[in-house]
Structure formats: structure tokens, C-alpha cells
């Protein structure tokens, strides 16, 4: 399979992340400005050095159809390539691959991937198609309701041990307590009992199964490895494989909703990287709901179908364990910065690879799997599945 990323020609040379907050009162522009400021401060790169901008569609600025030009102008960027990705939580990981492809195609040389959304301050998105007639009038409470359906089908097909989901909740919260960027709401430990007795949202899905929408931003700076070396960059991370699938199994009108695009994307990304799951030193899996993390572990191939509960209970997923997982708290224990949320996983992986995850540093962060999930289809599962493999550079 063709994979121009595998030669490590592309490098992530800087990362940035804001604090995640409830009702920050900020705009996505201000949040993006914090990213630009951190990137400039840490890498020495100035706006004039940047000729590509990849960003994500947001809840807060969705009404602006000129988002990338506006954002670039706000940050002082003159651009030969822009990208606005509307793949929800799969956009930040996907934009790393899109930026790399644009650089390799000669369209630009240095890309700021900037994901910013003040989704909890300002909600301006409006999703039509089937939603106005066939979803909203039913009383569906957004993604939690869909995941209620999905969990029930999973429970019908497989043994679901809620203590395994509870372990994800407790372990991720432990990581969050070492992460200064988490939303203040999550700055306290939780127990398995707290998880098992948290209030029902969409039965069988509980409050502590789910993310909370917040405001926040994150970003990475990407260029060629050659240019990074010329710049004298000390730390870099190479994206070496990427796979994405939107609208899995779309022609099947009665699909098994416990199967997702990861059943394709998981094997595909490993084949492209020339790796298998045993080569992955840490996993940063998109966690809008803990059941989604479990399903990804199964479908990406860390364990068999239905084996997620036993795998989680039998695996040390702490930073020093055999498969460190969502070490900074994931989104469930950090807060979901709107449609910049996928960046929570991406940034934590890069931070670990830069050796800067203080208090939760993974001893060997040489390889990482980062995933993204975006949008939900009508009575199906999530629309977009994305998987990115990162390798630590020298």
C-alpha cells in the first residue's frame, strides 16, 4: 500500500494546548491566538514562516463560511494552502495527514494545524438533512442517546463488564490530575463506585461514561524533516501512517451498529506503517464515551470482538503499564474542547514523545496510535473513523 509518510519525511516540530474551560467567554479566535503564541514562543517560528493552515469546523464559528481565511488573517498568516476539515473529532488527526500530503505535494512547507472551538460559549452549528425531521422531534439528546442504543446492542452481542468501563474512568481521571490543562470540574479523583453509581443519562449510559463540552484549543506545527533539521529543531515527531473512513458500510440499511469504520481503518493503518498492535507503545484513543474506547481497542485489534472488558481489566493502562492509554485524562476527564476535541489525544501523544508529560511520562513513548471519531450517522454508529501512527524522531 502506498504510504509516502513512512519515510519520516514529515515532522511535527511543536505543539500547543490551552486550558480547557467551561463557558470561557472567549471566542475561537482568542483561543487560537493562545496556540499561535505558544507555538511562536516554543519553536521560534514567526507567522511569516508559516504558509499553510489546517483548521477544523467549529460549533462556535460554524456560521462563518470563510473560517480559514478569517482565522489566518487574525493570526497574521499569508497562506499558499488552507484546509478546513468538517470531520468533527476526527479532524485534528486527519489534518496532520492532510498537512503532510499538502507539504509532500509541494503546496506549502510549514503548516500550522490549529484547532480552536469555544463550543460551550457559543453554539452556532445547524445540521439539517435528516436531523430536523427525523432526529430532533424524537427527543434524542445528542450523541449520548445514540451511544445508549449502541451500548445496548453491544450488551446483547457481548459480555459488557461495567467495571472495565469504570476502570477507564478511574485511570483516566488519575492521569488528568497530573495535567494542568484539564477543565477545573475534573480536578478531583473518582472511584469505581462513583462511576457505577453516576446518574443515568441515556440508559444504560451514565454521566461518567460521557464527555462534557467545553471551550479550548490545541495545535501542532508541521514541516519537512529536512527543514526541521536545518532549523536545528531538537525534538520532533513523525506521522508515519494514517487511515480514515467516512460512512462505513453505508449501503447496508440494517448494519450491526457495534461494528465501525475502525474494523477497516485499524488493519489499514498498521499495514501502511508496517506494524501491528504489539508495536504500539501507547494509545491515545478518541474517548467521547468509554464504550467507544472499548470498541476501538477491539476493532483496531488490541483484542478480539467482545474481548474489550477482559482486555481492559487485564491490562495495565497506566503510564508505566504495557499499554498506556489516554494518559492525560482523555477528553472524558479533561473536557471536550468542542470540535477541537480530537486534538486532546493528538497533543498528549506529541507531549509524551517530547518527554514533557510531567507526572505521567511514559518511559518509552517511541510509537503511538492516535484515533479520531467524528459525527454520528442516522441510527448507525459514528461517521468518521481515523487512525494516525506517530513515531518519535531523533
Amino acid at each position: 500500500m502506498k504510504n509516502p509518510l513512512r519515510d519520516r519525511e514529515i515532522a511535527i516540530i511543536g505543539y500547543a494546548e490551552t486550558r480547557i474551560e467551561r463557558r470561557s467567554g472567549k471566542t475561537a479566535y482568542e483561543l487560537a491566538g493562545e496556540i499561535m503564541d505558544q507555538i511562536a514562543q516554543r519553536t521560534g517560528v514567526v507567522p511569516a514562516d508559516i504558509d499553510g493552515l489546517a483548521t477544523v469546523q467549529t460549533h462556535s464559528e460554524a456560521a462563518n463560511p470563510f473560517w480559514a481565511p478569517f482565522l489566518g488573517d487574525h493570526l497574521g498568516l499569508s497562506l499558499s494552502w488552507t484546509q478546513t476539515s468538517g470531520n468533527g473529532g476526527a479532524s485534528p488527526a486527519g489534518n496532520v495527514a492532510r498537512a503532510a500530503a499538502a507539504i509532500q505535494a509541494g503546496l506549502c512547507e510549514m503548516v500550522l494545524c490549529c484547532n480552536a472551538d469555544a463550543a460551550n460559549t457559543r453554539q452556532r452549528s445547524d445540521q439539517r438533512s435528516y436531523r430536523t425531521d427525523f432526529v430532533e422531534p424524537v427527543g434524542l439528546q445528542g450523541p449520548p442517546s445514540y451511544f445508549g442504543f449502541i451500548m445496548r446492542r453491544y450488551m446483547e452481542k457481548h459480555d459488557l463488564n461495567f467495571e472495565a468501563l469504570g476502570k477507564l474512568a478511574v485511570e483516566q481521571r488519575k492521569g488528568a490530575l497530573t495535567n494542568p490543562n484539564i477543565c477545573e470540574t475534573f480536578n478531583k479523583p473518582i472511584t469505581l463506585e462513583d462511576y457505577l453509581t453516576s446518574r443515568m443519562v441515556a440508559e444504560p449510559l451514565r454521566l461518567l461514561d460521557a464527555v462534557m463540552r467545553c471551550d479550548g484549543a490545541n495545535g501542532v506545527l508541521i514541516t519537512t524533516t529536512e527543514r526541521a533539521r536545518k532549523m536545528g529543531v531538537g525534538k520532533m515527531v513523525h506521522p508515519t501512517a494514517f487511515a480514515e473512513l467516512t460512512n462505513f458500510d453505508v449501503h447496508n440499511q440494517t448494519p450491526d451498529v457495534t461494528e465501525t469504520g475502525f474494523s477497516v481503518v485499524g488493519p489499514s493503518v498498521f499495514e501502511k506503517a508496517g506494524m501491528n498492535h504489539g508495536d504500539i507503545r501507547m494509545a491515545h484513543l478518541y474517548d467521547d464515551f468509554h464504550i467507544a474506547t472499548m470498541m476501538q481497542l477491539e476493532q483496531i485489534g488490541f483484542c478480539g470482538r467482545g474481548g474489550g472488558s477482559d482486555f481492559i481489566l487485564g491490562t495495565d493502562i497506566s503510564p508505566t503499564g504495557s499499554l498506556p492509554l489516554n494518559t492525560g485524562g482523555g477528553q472524558i476527564s479533561s473536557g471536550q474542547p468542542g470540535l477541537a476535541g480530537g486534538g486532546v489525544q493528538l497533543i498528549e501523544a506529541v507531549r509524551q514523545m517530547f518527554g514533557e508529560a510531567e507526572g505521567r511520562q511514559v518511559p518509552d513513548p517511541s510509537t503511538a496510535l492516535v484515533s479520531g471519531i467524528g459525527c454520528i450517522n442516522y441510527v448507525r454508529n459514528w461517521s468518521v473513523s481515523a487512525a494516525l501512527i506517530l513515531e518519535q524522531g531523533a
Partner: protein, 138 residues
């Protein structure tokens, strides 16, 4: 609607594509798009067949019977539904081989079993909108 008013349950906003569906439900009829070229139904309504990409779709009336594919009990309700919570929503697999998500009626969480037979029933939400729901087909 102003911010100070209590939000009411959102109603469908029929467009050209979905108007026939809502016209049928006003008369307690359930119609589903059908592609005669591949002899398959599809739901939700679209502008083309997902199988052929062509627009030669027909509306066909169906009996509104099927099985319960999944269900949930909504405890935290969206705006306009607060007074109803907790309430059940189901995914119904129609005998024609498509799935619909609708409110459930005449059933409790204890009595709901995946695979049970269900039939369409109707909720009159306004003069213009009669919404399909499903209840046990006893």
C-alpha cells in the same frame, strides 16, 4: 420565539423532499422511499438512491411493522422535552429492511426486549404534523 419563552418540542420542518412523508402521516400512513431498480427500500428520505445514485425513487406505503432493534431511556432531556423525561426512544427495524428512530409508546423499560414485534402508532403534534411512534404489536 424569544429566549424567555419555554422551548416547545421541535417539530419537523418539511422540505420538498420530505413533504410527501408528512402528508402521508397526516393520514396515518407510513411511506418509505423505494428504488425499483434494485428493489430496495431506503430510510431516511434522500434525493437519490444510495444504491444507484439515480433519482428514480418511489414512495411506497408500508404496514409499519417490524422489530425493536435497540432502545434507550432518556433521563436528561433536550429543550422542549423536559416535562416528558424519562421517556423511551427506540430504533425499529421495519420488515422492509430499513431502520427508523421514533418515540416508543405503551411500553416500559422492564417490558422492552430486543427483537420484539412492534407496530406504528401516531402522535399528533400539531395540525400539520402527525409523528410516527411505535408500540408493541400484541
Amino acid at each position: 420565539m424569544t429566549d424567555t419563552q419555554v422551548r416547545t418540542r421541535p417539530l419537523p420542518q418539511p422540505w420538498k423532499l420530505t413533504e410527501p412523508f408528512w402528508e402521508a402521516t397526516r393520514n396515518a400512513k407510513l411511506i418509505i422511499q423505494y428504488d425499483p431498480a434494485v428493489e430496495k427500500y431506503q430510510f431516511y428520505p434522500r434525493s437519490v438512491s444510495i444504491f444507484t445514485g439515480r433519482s428514480n425513487l418511489e414512495w411506497r406505503e408500508v404496514p409499519g411493522k417490524g422489530t425493536l432493534y435497540s432502545f434507550t431511556d432518556i433521563h436528561v432531556a433536550p429543550p422542549g422535552f423536559e416535562d416528558l423525561a424519562p421517556y423511551m426512544i427506540g430504533v425499529i427495524e421495519l420488515d422492509e429492511g430499513v431502520r427508523m428512530m421514533t418515540p416508543l409508546q405503551g411500553i416500559t423499560m422492564d417490558a422492552a426486549v430486543l427483537g420484539m414485534r412492534m407496530r406504528v402508532c401516531w402522535q399528533k403534534l400539531s395540525d400539520k404534523i402527525t409523528y410516527p411512534a411505535f408500540e408493541p404489536d400484541r
